[in-house]
Structure formats: structure tokens, C-alpha cells
């Protein structure tokens, strides 16, 4: 994770377009200015960033299903539960699956596991649209390469 840049996903472990599922890995840094305030003497990964991590995981799945032709944006968060404290140095496994693919939106269920135990979950709605700026698409392609987005997963129908 590079929290300052909102890079919350480190590696795509599995992306199954047919099953419409994704699993990623994310390493919580041992040090960050965020932990200086959240909280002094008791550093915790903020819940909103855990939701963002689930949203980014869901987003990569949505982008894969749309064959990298459109961008996904977080639109709604429902039933978000922070079930365990996530602390500096933790390694998170994040899963997302598709609940519904609508016209212009996708609903996912996402889960964060810590040492195999459910730490957070949420139901997320992502709106999607054509990449609104070429820089954004370039950025996403660079991110995809960095986190091991399997281009072959979207290379065929």
C-alpha cells in the first residue's frame, strides 16, 4: 500500500472473469503519517481506507469485466462492517464478487480477511463510464501492470 497515493492494492492474486471473482493482497505499511493521528499510541488502519481497499478490489474486477474499456467509480456503500482492528504490518486478503451487473453500474460484495478471519465486509455499488481522460486510462494501465492485472483474463470472450 502507498496510502498517500491511495494505492491500496499491492497484488492481484486471482482474477476469474468467468466466475466474476477477484482476490487481491494488500500490505498495510508499518509506518505512515496516518497512523500518527489514527491513533497516537494505538495505530489502526482507518475504516474508510478499508472500505476504499474493498472498492478498489471491486473496481479492478469491474474493469476486467468491461475489458478495460470503462472506468469504475465508487457510488454507494452498504452494510459495511469493520469486524476487527487492522494494524500496521498486517497483510490483508481481499475478495470481491459480482452481485449484479446493471446498465452503467455494478454491485459487488467484498470481504477483507486477516489471517484467514473475516475482518471487514461491505456491499458496494460502482458506477461506470468511459475513461473521462486519457491520463486516467494511462494511470490505470500503469497500475494494472504494477499489481499484476492478468491481461490474458480479458483477452477473449
Amino acid at each position: 500500500m502507498h496510502l498517500e497515493y491511495f494505492h491500496l492494492i499491492d497484488r492481484i492474486v486471482d482474477l476469474n472473469v468467468g466466475e466474476r471473482t477477484i482476490t487481491v493482497e494488500a500490505h498495510v505499511p508499518t509506518e505512515s503519517t496516518i497512523f500518527e493521528g489514527h491513533f497516537p499510541g494505538y495505530p489502526l488502519m482507518p475504516g474508510v481506507l478499508l472500505i476504499e481497499a474493498m472498492a478498489q478490489t471491486s473496481g479492478w474486477l469491474a474493469i476486467a469485466l468491461m475489458k478495460f474499456e470503462r472506468m469504475a467509480f465508487l457510488a454507494a456503500v452498504k452494510e459495511a462492517k469493520m469486524r476487527a482492528f487492522v494494524t500496521p504490518g498486517n497483510t490483508l486478503k481481499i475478495d470481491a464478487s459480482i452481485v449484479h451487473e446493471g446498465s452503467g453500474f455494478t454491485i459487488t460484495e467484498a470481504k477483507i480477511r486477516l489471517d484467514g478471519k473475516l475482518a471487514c465486509n461491505a456491499t458496494l455499488t460502482l458506477g461506470h463510464m468511459a475513461f473521462p481522460h486519457p491520463d486516467l486510462r494511462s494511470h490505470m494501465e500503469a497500475m494494472a501492470a504494477r499489481i499484476g492485472f492478468p491481461q490474458q483474463a480479458i483477452a477473449h470472450d
Binding site: 457510488a75 454507494a76 449484479h100 451487473e101 446493471g102 446498465s103 452503467g104 453500474f105 454491485i107
Partner: protein
């Protein structure tokens, strides 16, 4: 057996917390009921699920933006219900 309108009205009432008796076939989802685009995604999800279809919201929105259709054609509930019936019929064809 409830009509398509009855099912849609129930979905809207439950999804958006709008009193069911205020929702009529002539109600405009946006102008009369005050449903915004994000809330309409929840309604679309519920309609898609209930009727086994995929409401073509993006296509409708594009047609409205291009001046090829009016919002009344898609978002007045009797018209929305008719569009749903067409989509259900097309699915079964």
C-alpha cells in the same frame, strides 16, 4: 396477480421510503417522486432482479441527452412499466 406497475410501485416505496399510496401510474419518478440517479440504481437493481431483465438505463439516458426521447417516456411509471413489459416479452421471445 399484481401488475407490473404494482410491483414497480412497491419496489420504489420500499427502496426509497416513499409512501406507497402517493405513487401512481402518472407519477414521474424524478420530477414527482424526487428520486435521484443514485437511488434509481437501487430501483434498477430491484427491477432487474424481480423481472429477470436489465433495464437499459444508459441507453435511455443517452437518448434523453441527445433529445431523441423525453424523460416522461421512461420515467413516468406507467411508461416505465410498459418498457419493463416489453423487455420481459423480448426476453421470452
Amino acid at each position: 396477480m399484481s401488475t407490473t406497475f404494482d410491483q414497480v410501485a412497491t419496489i420504489i416505496a420500499e427502496t426509497c421510503d416513499i409512501p406507497r399510496d402517493t405513487i401512481t401510474p402518472e407519477s414521474h419518478a424524478i420530477d414527482d417522486l424526487g428520486i435521484d440517479s443514485l437511488d434509481f440504481l437501487d430501483i434498477a437493481f430491484a427491477i432487474d432482479k424481480a423481472f429477470g431483465i436489465k433495464l437499459p438505463l444508459e441507453k435511455w439516458t443517452q437518448e434523453v441527452n441527445d433529445g431523441k426521447a423525453t424523460t416522461e417516456q421512461y420515467f413516468v411509471l406507467k411508461n416505465l412499466s410498459a418498457r419493463i413489459d416489453e423487455l420481459v416479452a423480448a426476453k421470452g421471445a
